[in-house]
């Protein structure tokens, strides 16, 4: 009578969102299962069906391009969402009627959604700040939600470099399902029950990544970067634990692991934003010419408002905010940080 609770589907697995990360995930899963690869862009779809390539990458033979959301959702037990955070409210509204509680959704989006206007002076209700898993849980009938996060730069995944990720969910079933679907000989999958911690680590590291790009753009070296990474991590933890996350995840692959990768790689989008800012371009200019969303730009605003309004000590994030939104020069921001009165090195527990 008792069926195994190991995920073992005969249906294809759906990947919703055809950005670079979505493509990398689809390629990985395709090694194990047929993939329904959904894009909302008609042209992209036509192009994929015609050439079986996407952005000059040859798609795995197991990938089936799709343009019909309802059909895609109905045909699968396991879905990966890899779309920008700002697209979620609309997508979930459309998708919800086709979803049911037997399905599993795993997302790979490192952003937050705020259901209210953002302002420094008007107190932000933390109930209005949603992680993506919160949002899926609220807006769909699906309870079995998970997220993947880790140092997973898309171009390295395409090339098959050895790498790993963390899948986090409250449900062991979800963790197992994700592992079954995505683990390959070159891609390892770790599990965690701390979904909030893993999500917030991935979200907040984008802010530090922007700063890392700035530092590189100014031509500073590894001392500066290491300073930024280690002090930045502490600010991330401070904000995340205020938002109810456990801190352990920050010392793992999804925390420090992802932070290092994204702060070192010129391929990281958020890093690129910072780098180009340092080279003198304006934020608008940069955002208008980027193909894909750099989540860190809006996350900086949210993170700073939360820290500022709740008196959480986060000087680096405040400085990045001022550079992005208050036209502070990067040089001045650095001078301000260096002039800061000396405090304890690691003082997470002390405030």
């Amino acid at each position: 009578m008792i069926s195994s609770n190991l995920f073992n589907t005969r249906k294809p697995i759906a990947v919703i969102g055809s950005g670079s990360f979505g493509t990398a995930i689809a390629q990985l899963i395709a090694e194990n299962y047929p993939v329904l690869f959904y894009t909302r862009n008609r042209e992209t779809y036509n192009n994929m069906t015609a050439t079986h390539t996407h952005n000059e990458i040859a798609l795995h033979k197991n990938i089936i391009p799709s343009y019909d959301l309802a059909d895609t959702l109905a045909r699968t037990d396991l879905l990966y969402f890899t779309i920008p955070s700002k697209s979620y409210p609309e997508l979930l509204k459309v998708a919800s009627p086709y979803l049911n509680p037997s399905q599993i959704i795993i997302h790979g989006t490192k952003g937050l959604v705020v259901n209210n206007e953002l302002s420094l002076t008007k107190k932000l209700d933390l109930m209005d700040v949603h992680t993506i898993s919160d949002l899926i849980y609220r807006e769909t009938p699906v309870l079995k939600v998970g997220c993947i996060s880790g140092p997973n730069l898309a171009h390295e995944l395409y090339e098959g470099h050895p790498a790993a990720t963390v899948v986090a969910s409250h449900f062991g079933q979800v963790i197992k399902a994700c592992q079954v679907a995505i683990k390959t000989s070159r891609f390892q999958v770790f599990g965690s029950y701390d979904i909030r911690g893993v999500e917030l680590a991935g979200v907040l590291k984008n802010v530090i990544s922007i700063a890392s790009g700035m530092v590189a753009g100014l031509g500073f070296g590894e001392n500066t970067k290491a300073l930024l990474i280690s002090r930045g991590l502490i600010e991330m933890i401070r904000i995340a634990s205020y938002l109810g996350a456990e801190t352990n995840s920050f010392f793992g692959l999804a925390g420090i692991g992802d932070l290092i990768a994204t702060c070192m790689s010129p391929y990281s989008r958020n890093y690129t934003v910072g780098y180009r800012l340092a080279k003198g371009e304006s934020l608008d200019q940069i955002l208008n010419t980027m193909n894909e969303v750099a989540e860190g730009v809006s996350t900086t605003k949210i993170a700073h408002i939360i820290a500022y309004q709740n008196k959480l000590h986060a000087p680096i994030i405040a400085a990045i905010y001022d550079v992005l939104y208050e036209s502070l020069s990067i040089q001045d921001a650095i001078s301000r940080l260096m002039a800061y009165p000396m405090t304890r090195d690691v003082d997470i527990a002390l405030d």
């Binding site: 069926s3 037997s102 009938p141 449900f171 062991g172």
Partner: protein, 574 residues
């Protein structure tokens, strides 16, 4: 933004026993032969055998191998020997000591090298589980139930009239109606409908020893068949009370026994009873609220059995299986008789997580009678509100028992249990589901809570003290000198008005309920509140002194009663 017009609080329809309702009730009651609770008792022996077998399977599945079972048996034996020697109760069977001695003897003589060791250990497990099963399962007797059903309302009414004594004849004329004192409101028609379509699990808030009696009466008054309920084994120390409870659908829960074998037997019992369609009553807080706060943490053990039962129903009966519905119930008192001792226990234990065992003082007939008498002799009302029923995932259900999601989509509950299109048993998943359900029940408590005048004045007064003495911590506040414990009346009324305005706004937004008496003018509400707030206590939480000042006689009690409005973020309005 907020509407200028304050919403009128609707007079909730009280349950009047009208002729048509009498018919509905009679129809339900005359079908007693079909009640699952009756069938369960008729088949008690077979049921126990099956219970033992299912528990056996479950434990083996959990422990995996024989070595673990051996260890678990040793642990059980150890814990039970301590219990038998240190906390013996009158209700315990006479052969406790010899029984466990025998187990000990068998356990040490289990031959290690023999191939049949498993057999012996399993046999020992069966022996222990069988003993537990016999203890847990009660014997519902329809005759006792029918007697109680007639007698208790009569006794209630007589007590009530005697307690609100005007003249001797009035005692038996029953001029004061129980319905005037104990108001039943909420989604009663829907609940009655659902009771025919599925299995109800009633989950009340728990503040007082009176709760069980209130709920028992209420279930009967709204025309529902009897519910199974877990009663502390300590209550059975009193043979008369025990005899009645046993026959009125109680099963026994012994909170001294914390070993895995016992807990699994208890959970399996609950699962099986639910599967058979027995409506059940859980106090999910596990024990009375010590702080006076509405429950914030629920006990997972029994609550988790609804998931097992529902899944098995789908496995056995298919897609149209019997559904389980959760019915939250808030019991709203102006005062809780045992508040002083509860709050003292709370303050003693605050900061240290400790499992509280209900004190034993509620077991003799005299103390119960005194308790009930005290309750009825004060003229304050109690409101029991039956909340919106939901499925075990917190989805709303319609009168047909069909579930709807937050987005108002129809939901097939069986799909929650499915993986790869198959129903799957997954304990870890169900544990998470239990957490979700418990969150939904807590949300529902806040929404279905009925605010009374006494809650408001206690909340306002305590917060005013707290804000006036910002620097003091809770314990210092409790020791506030007498001459600091007064609040000028006008200041007080002003704050009450502000809070009321906000509460009415929340009521319009369906965030909570307000008692009909809150329609009155603020000064009348304050008067009403003062007349009712903890009226029986020797030292009052609040009184109005001769100069009209609001004065607190007992800060701890005031804190206790103020806690009832905790969790709504109301402090900012005072």
């Amino acid at each position: 933004m907020s509407s200028i017009i304050t919403p009128k609080i609707e007079k909730e329809s009280k349950i009047q026993i009208t002729p048509s309702q009498e018919v509905i009730r009679d129809a339900i009651m005359s079908n007693w032969r079909d009640w699952p609770i009756v069938k369960l008792s008729q088949e008690r022996e077979e049921f126990i055998q099956l219970l033992v077998r299912n528990t056996f399977d479950k434990i083996l599945q959990k422990l995996g191998n024989n070595e673990n079972l051996h260890e678990e048996l040793k642990k059980t034996l150890y814990l039970e020997k301590i219990r038998v020697h240190q906390k013996p109760w009158r209700v315990d069977p006479k052969d406790e000591i010899s029984f466990w001695n025998e187990i000990k003897k068998d356990l040490v003589t289990v031959p290690f090298e023999e191939t049949n060791t498993a057999y012996t250990e399993e046999k020992l497990m069966v022996k222990i589980v069988t003993r537990y099963a016999h203890e847990i399962v009660g014997t519902f007797k329809i005759s006792t139930f029918q007697f109680a059903e007639r007698f208790i309302p009569f006794a209630f009414a007589t007590l009530l009239n005697a307690a609100s004594f005007t003249n001797f004849k009035a005692i038996f004329q029953h001029k004061v109606h129980i319905q005037d004192r104990v108001q039943l409101t909420g989604e009663i028609d829907k609940i009655r409908e659902l009771s025919k379509k599925g299995t109800l699990v009633l989950v009340p808030t728990h503040f007082s020893n009176l709760d069980s009696i209130m709920v028992g009466w209420a279930i009967d008054a709204i025309g529902l068949p009897p519910f199974l309920y877990g009663a502390g084994l300590n209550l059975f120390n009193n043979p008369i009370l025990g005899w009645y409870m046993n026959r009125l659908g109680a099963y026994k829960i012994d909170r001294r026994k914390k070993n895995m074998l016992y807990l699994e037997t208890l959970k399996t019992y609950s699962t099986m009873a639910l599967q058979r369609g027995c409506h059940s009553l859980f106090f999910p807080g596990g024990t009375r609220s010590r702080s006076g706060r509405i429950e914030k943490n629920l006990k997972m053990g029994l609550l988790s059995t609804v998931f097992d039962a529902q899944r098995i129903n789908y496995e056995v009966q298919g897609p149209n299986a019997n559904k389980i519905f959760i019915v939250p119930l808030t019991i709203n008192y102006h005062f809780v008789l045992e508040a002083p001792s509860l709050i003292n226990e709370y303050l003693k234990n605050a900061g240290q997580e400790k499992y509280l065992i209900d004190s034993n003082n509620f077991t003799n007939f005299w103390s119960i009678s005194k308790f009930i008498w005290k309750f009825f002799s004060t003229k304050s009302e109690v409101i029991l509100r039956f909340g919106a029923p939901m499925d075990i995932f917190g989805n709303t259900v319609n009168n047909e028992g069909i579930s709807f999601s937050k987005m108002n989509q129809e939901i097939d509950v069986s799909s929650y249990f499915k993986l790869n299109d198959k129903l799957v048993d997954d304990e870890q998943r169900d544990f998470e589901y239990t957490k979700i359900l418990s969150k939904k029940i807590i949300e529902s408590y806040l929404k279905e809570n009925v605010v009374l005048s006494s809650h408001i004045i206690a909340f306002v007064a305590f917060i005013m003290f707290k804000k006036k003495f910002k620097k003091l911590d809770l314990y210092a506040l409790f020791r506030l000198p007498r001459d600091e414990r007064g609040i000028p009346y006008l200041q007080f009324q002003e704050k009450v008005e502000t809070l009321l305005k906000h509460l009415k706004h929340m009521y319009a937004e369906k965030q909570l309920y307000l008692a009909p008496h809150l329609n009155a003018a603020p000064y009348e509400i304050i008067k009403h509140g003062l007349q009712n707030l903890g009226i029986y206590h020797e030292k009052k939480a609040l009184v109005q002194d001769t100069f009209g000042e609001i004065y607190c006689e007992d800060m701890r009690l005031l804190y206790y009663y103020h806690n009832r409005l905790e969790g709504y973020d109301l402090e900012q309005f005072i």
